[in-house]
């Protein structure tokens, strides 16, 4: 994917939740373009809709109306099955609480997305080792998540996110559960993914220090998107 061409295009996006009889608007008329190779930070107070927007871009939630085109696909038109296949191919996920499977080793956790690709065991092994070497954890591949520190677990999660070589990576508060040093390591790693591997990262964060690492910061407030004029680095 060529840099600076919009890899994510969002037009007139609306999303609401219903609680009983009440309809609660979460996102209102969102319009957003994200270029390939961009590192975007989404900020905003709790309940502003930033995680919802991230979920919509990643194809794990459905909008009420509007268009979301990601990597050339109008994902609003995909069925659940098609969306699952699309996610497996195009999106890598990094979560606040790492979301590793506790009964699988680091190697097996990273291997999980590859089970959907039809690669042979040998090929999967090679891909996993490469991904773990990117996050500098090849020596811990046989460890279970419970035997790793928070920072190491998040690095395993990053390896899992990149192992299928997705076009975009979505990260929801990736440093929210980490100490300062580990958070810094993770952010540096994410920067490397953008600069060295050309990944597009969309990150939701509360942490201004984390947001500073991004190329672009967008603010959401009560479901309305505002660009931060100071945010371009």
């Amino acid at each position: 994917m060529q840099e600076n061409l919009p890899i994510v295009q969002i037009r007139n996006l609306f999303k609401s939740y219903s609680r009983g009889d009440q309809i609660i608007p979460v996102l209102q008329d969102i319009n957003l373009d994200i270029a390939g190779g961009e590192f975007l930070a989404l900020m905003g107070p709790s309940g502003s809709g930033k995680s919802t927007l991230l979920n919509l871009i990643a194809g794990i939630d459905k909008a009420d109306s509007g268009m979301i085109n990601v990597v050339g696909t109008d994902i609003a038109s995909l069925s659940e099955t098609e969306l699952a296949q699309w996610r497996a191919t195009n999106v890598g996920f990094i979560f606040q609480f790492y979301n590793l499977i506790p009964v699988l080793t680091a190697f097996e956790n990273v291997e999980l997305p590859l089970l959907l690709t039809g690669l042979s065991g040998k090929e999967r092994k090679s891909h996993v080792k490469t991904a773990l070497s990117i996050v500098n954890l090849t020596d811990r591949m046989d460890h279970y998540p419970g035997q790793l520190s928070g920072g190491q677990q998040q690095r395993v999660a990053i390896a899992r996110a990149v192992v299928t070589d997705p076009t975009i990576i979505v990260a929801d508060e990736p440093t929210g559960d980490l100490d300062r040093v580990s958070a810094e390591e993770i952010l540096e790693l994410m920067e490397r993914l953008v600069h060295e591997l050309g990944k597009t990262i969309i990150m939701v964060t509360h942490d201004p220090r984390a947001a500073k690492k991004a190329h672009l910061i967008k603010h959401l407030d009560k479901g309305v998107l505002n660009a931060d004029p100071q945010a371009h680095i």
């Binding site: 919802t52 979920n55 990643a58 794990i60 939630d61 099955t81 699952a84 296949q85 996610r87 497996a88 191919t89 996920f93 979560f95 606040q96 609480f97 979301n99 499977i101 506790p102 009964v103 699988l104 097996e108 291997e111 999980l112 997305p113 089970l115 959907l116 899992r160 559960d177």
Partner: protein, 385 residues
Amino acid sequence: MQILKLIFKNAFRHKLRTFLTISGISIAILAFGLLRTVVDSWYAGVKASAANRLVSRNAISLVFPLPISYKDKIRQIDGVTNVSYGNWFGGIYIDEKNFFANFAVEPKSYLELYPEYVLQPDQQAAFLRDRKGFVAGRKIADKYNWKPGDTVILKGTIFPGQWEFVLRAIYKGKTKSIDETQFIFHWEYLNETLKKTVARRADQVGFYMIGVKSPNIAPEVSRAIDKTFRNSLAETLTETEKAFQMSFISMSEAIVVAIQLVSFVVIIIIMAVMANTMAMSARERIGEYAVFKTLGFGGAYVAALIFGESLFISSVGCVIGTILTFPAAKAFGAMMSQFFPIFNVSVNTVYLDVAASVIVGVIAAIIPTYRAASIRIADGLRRIG
């Protein structure tokens, strides 16, 4: 292979819970297997019945006798190959608790009609020669340590007195389903004694056992026998041996139905326990299932994880329970041998055990799977942290 590994690892994440659930299933399968074996044992006589044997008895009731003179008339009926006869003796060996079936029969024709009782030729000849001789099934001979030549005394209840017999032969069943706890002696010995003591009860039999050429003509022969004695002082009711045995079962049908119901209730209870285990496991892992779905795994994969775990736990419980059923049935059968002379775990019972465990595994997984597969990913991810 990854999914099998994951199912196995998931099953043992809460070792105590899994251990208790497996124990519960094992005990339930054991109880189910034993109860089914009790039911099988109840029907053992029916199963052992031959299709080419008829039983003729007094049409009013089994307790009323038939004249011995009927024997020759029955033999003359078309299709009849052999006729034997006998009486339920109802003797007690030392104490009432030592119960076993004992019959006075015409020995030669009886053994011809029942080739499933296997006797050594020399012992059979010795039995036929000795009017006070008797044949014992292997199990009661072992139980009371009787050896050929031993004298055994039964206390008569229907035919009062102390009756002395000499063990001349021990029979074995041709198959495992043959009752090896019977005591058979010469009808002549009974009849001659009755002639001397209660003459009015002599020359009467409780039942005729009739061999027919082919099972196909059994109904026709039955009708012919009953027709022969219609309007006589002792009308007959003739039926196949199976129907005759079933008439005993039908007297206790309510008990059999109750046992069958209890056996299914045991399975329903363990189904509830298993469903609870799976519901707890799935609820705890709902976030993980959301992660799988996020990564691109479909609902089918999540369903396979839950169904696989449920079936794995129920299968382990089934294997342990089924293995335990055999020694338990042996011990139970030995303890209750006077009531259940044949107490073997049948292949059908093992199949039912397997079917029950599969049903338990599948049903227990349905609701957790539905919840896990239908939850929105965003909602599932919210449960983490």
